[in-house]
Amino acid sequence: MPARPHPAVAPAIPPWTWLRLEAVTKVFRDTRGGEYTAARDISIAIDRGDFYCLLGPSGCGKTTLLNLIAGFEQVTAGAIAFAGEGRGKPWRRTIQGPGVERAMIFQDVGEALFPWLNVEENILFGPRMAGVRREDCLAKLDRYLRMVGLREDAHKFPFELSGGMKQRVQIARALIMEPEVLLMDEPFAALDAITKRLLQQELSRIWQETRRTIVYITHDLIEALLLGTRVAVMTAGPAATIKCEFRVDLPRPRSATAPDFVELTRRLETLLHEEVSAARKAMAEAR
């Protein structure tokens, strides 16, 4: 009986140009038949190699959007697709379910890591599922352990690591799959300010080194500007949409105190101000 190809070794998708959200709407139904529109008619085209930041207030449906891209949940309307122009012939492939070409970095790293596996075993989980032997990916393992600065801690278990180190493990575990897209859901939100800054700098460096496409969710304007090549601002939920989208062309490494950075921040703060008042109004109504 011919073995069904394992999803992790399934042929990679052809070189793509965009990861597109095409008029995506997501409606949740609760058990009593009530409906909640988390996202309405969202269209985005993420270029290959982008560091794409989705910026929005808490509860605006950012995570929902990421779960849709990851394939954990199904769109209610619209589609999510990789698209490209292979040899002049445009093509498009819709996303159905999770796939190894899209790696998720979860905010709750305590739950995302496998606590019974040590750092090395956690990172090798993906290759192991695909039937790759440890000996055959030692070089890669070493490369990514080095990249996230965990070479000395390869045999520690997650409970022996700090929050920041755990998040590094998660990043290495995703990178070893060499995914097309890294999906990051507020990965540093639970860390202390200093660790957060450090990891942001390192992520910026990793992105420059690997040129993986990253879709990064955050509620922190400064973080979005420090990391992103593009930033999309979402409106406050329910029925969140994209309010505006802009490019950040500041050179790396970026500093939050550089004059042009401060200038950009000031311009965006005014923009966000409207969303803040909208959120305040929504909160008042909810009460």
């Binding site: 394992h6 999803p7 992790a8 990851a70 954990f72 999770p98 190894v100 899209r102 790696a103 998720m104 979860f106 709750d108 739950e111 995302a112 890591l113 496998f114 606590p115 019974w116 596996l117 989980f125 993906g126 599922m129 695909a130 278990f157 997650p158 409970f159 022996e160 575990r173 995703a174 799959m177």
Partner: protein, 278 residues
């Protein structure tokens, strides 16, 4: 009864001061245990004849003398051996089937919703209550004893396994899917390992239950075993032998529980990532 695994506590490295402190604590525990047991013996010794009728409560001396003769003749070990075999066979079957059924119930909501009312109904029925039924179904042979032990073990292991399996964090399952794990890999490599702390907690409680069950199983229709020894002593009015039986049960139960803990601490350590005191 659904025992929760303990909350995570970070494991500390063990520098000298901590090691010394730990040794001190263990020494103190041993000393306390010795004091408590000696106190009990003294109390027991002086109350016989003063408070209790010696025909109903033998002195500690008489009890240990009886135990010594029974050990010398090998009678006591024979009873212990027979009971241990029954416990072991029933316990292994009970745990294995409990884990298997529990995993299915925990994984599939349909199985869970169908099984829940049945389990709620069965839970209050103690192993003792099943003795007459066991005899009707399996006669007075070994099968009826195994049945009682399996019954005592199965439900608690099943409930814990189901709880552990159904409480696997969604995030962890999603992470595995992202890393290319297919359905059976998610189950075997993520969900079952996540449930191990729950399963082991259930297994340890079940071990105690099966020692409670063994007496029930041997009360009727047995010719050897600790339960038989206790029952028979009552019929023959041999209170010293009866006390030997009770003490043996306590000691054997304690030893088996300790062995279980040591084995677990060695083999299951990586699943107990919060320095789990089993």
């Amino acid at each position: 009864m659904r025992a929760e695994p303990p909350t995570p506590v970070a494991r500390q490295p063990a520098p000298r001061a901590i090691r010394d402190e730990r040794a001190g604590r263990i020494l103190r525990q041993i000393a306390m245990a010795a004091i408590a047991l000696c106190g009990l013996l003294v109390l027991w010794h002086f109350s016989v004849g003063n408070v209790f009728n010696p025909a109903l409560v033998p002195t500690p001396g008489a009890t240990f003398a009886k135990a010594w003769t029974m050990m010398k003749s090998g009678e006591l070990f024979m009873h212990v051996g027979v009971s241990l075999k029954r416990v072991l066979v029933g316990y292994v079957i009970g745990c294995a089937s409990g884990i298997a059924i529990g995993a299915i119930i925990g994984r599939f909501w349909l199985a869970r919703e169908l099984a829940d009312p049945v389990l709620e109904l069965i839970r209050p029925i103690s192993p003792v209550a099943m003795v007459p039924l066991a005899m009707l179904w399996f006669g007075i042979g070994e099968m009826s004893k195994y049945f009682i032990i399996v019954y005592a073990t199965l439900i608690i292991v099943l409930l814990n396994t189901a709880a552990g399996v159904s409480r696997t964090p969604v995030t962890r399952i999603r992470a595995a899917r992202c890393l290319g794990a297919v359905e059976h890999q998610v189950f075997l490599k993520v969900i079952l390992p996540s449930a191990v702390p729950y399963i082991l907690t259930g297994m340890r409680v079940a071990l105690g239950f099966s020692f409670m069950g063994i007496v029930a199983a041997e009360l009727i229709g047995a010719r050897e075993g600790i339960g038989f020894l206790i029952m028979n002593s009552q019929l023959l009015l041999q209170t010293d032998q009866l006390f030997v039986g009770l003490l043996t049960l306590g000691v054997v139960g304690l030893i088996v529980d300790r062995i279980f803990r040591i084995l677990l601490a060695r083999s299951m350590r990586r699943y107990m990532q919060f320095h789990y005191e089993v």
